[in-house]
Symmetry: C2
Subunit: 224 residues, 2 copies
DNA sequence: CTAATAGTGTCTCTGAGACACTATTTG
DNA sequence: CAAATAGTGTCTCAGAGACACTATTAG
């Protein structure tokens, strides 16, 4: 790096002398719809990829990601995070393109009806290295769900413990004993005082998420 | 994104029509030398920054980081990881420069004698947003040290439990009870069978790290 | 009543944490 | 012997996990 305010790096070479990579952003939008799925968009050649775009001049990565989600997938107000920078020089046939991978978790209800969702287990033929991004995103989601109750809001504003357990069993692809699950996850919930009566059986209490992070013992329980 | 093999994006605009950012890498090299410190290099204007460099054409980020560590800090064979992409368009006076922040942990003994180390608590006047990178790196180090015994090898090949406890007390900036610390960390250690006699008192057993990851209960203990 | 689902009392067993003890050295 | 440091036996208490029980509904 060099003296601030001068257009040279520490070797005296002008910054503009370096050929520069294109920089892209890609977002793995995860949702739960029976199984864990990821949103994909069709490309001109008929293949599928995660929604993404090139970074515009002076634009921030987060703004580019927001733009990609809006323009390619019709999604707004999505919270996302950086995952990793993908930098294989051969990853894009069109040239030297780095991509900042992001992940987001969006309730199925908030995803436009015409969007295409594929199970995260069936991403082998996504374009570029996007199957890798999906793997990163699933790992990231599991870590987040172990630290906080349903950070993506998959279960909506309020829900029963059974709703939540069913959700977590999908996300972690395993089952949990109902009593231990309840006692663990209650630490991150607060009762609304309402009940859900549905079919036969005792009505279920309805909870909402508490801001508090889950204790690390809960993370240990969820992650096995 | 666009059809593979064609030089246009989905709007039909050529890739080369977009002005592109410069991409840099910066590495926060952490070490423990009485306190937790980070390696800095002096810049031509006399200010200090983390070692970094611009990405060369077709180069991978990891290779650029390796090059920066070798050329700017005289370090080789360092293991590092991506932390985050810093993308404030105003972060570098010289123009539009994105930087991939990395972290590494290196034993003090492996750092060249002429390198400059500053405590991680005194990074406020580093150039650019490098103080932010140091914060990310310290958080990252603490997470890694809770998942595995001394992943940076700060304590060397072999060490006593007291060595390790002293090290962890520096990294986490707190103290730990000796018996509980011992019982927890022993899960990630294997005895060498050797003893260290030093001054008065019973000789200490010497251990080395085991490959096994620490149980999550140990992470909970270390992180409070 | 039965069937069905929600939620909890409670037992057991593990293990964290704390204290104080034993073990092994030097002088 | 005393002083110093390393390591452990053990007690207590909290809590995870499992089982079976109670609670509350529909029919």
């Amino acid at each position: 790096m060099s003296t601030m305010g001068t257009p040279t790096d520490s070797t005296g070479k002008s910054l503009t002398d370096y050929p520069r990579p294109s920089v892209a952003v890609d977002v793995a939008v995860l949702t739960v719809d029976e199984v864990l799925k990821v949103l994909v968009v069709e490309r001109p050649d008929g293949s599928y990829a995660l929604p993404g775009t090139f970074l515009h001049p002076g634009e921030r990565l987060a703004d580019a990601a927001t733009r990609a989600l809006r323009d390619k997938a019709g999604l707004t107000d999505v919270v996302f995070h950086q995952l990793a920078m993908l930098d294989d020089p051969e990853r894009d046939d069109r040239g030297w393109v780095l991509s900042m991978a992001h992940s987001a978790a969006v309730p199925a209800a908030d995803i436009p009806a015409d969007a295409q969702l594929v199970p995260v287990t069936e991403t082998a033929d996504l374009a570029f290295d996007h199957a890798d991004i999906v793997r990163f995103a699933v790992d990231d989601l599991r870590r987040r769900c172990a630290a906080e109750v349903d950070p993506g809001g998959f279960a909506g504003e309020s829900f029963t413990v059974l709703d939540l357990r069913t959700l977590y069993e999908v996300i972690y692809d395993r089952s949990y004993p109902k009593d231990t699950f309840r006692r663990h996850l209650l630490h991150g919930l607060e009762p609304t005082g309402e009940l859900r009566r549905e079919g036969t059986g005792r009505p279920a209490e309805i909870y909402r998420r508490r801001a508090a992070p889950l204790p690390s013992s809960t993370a240990a329980f969820l992650l096995q």
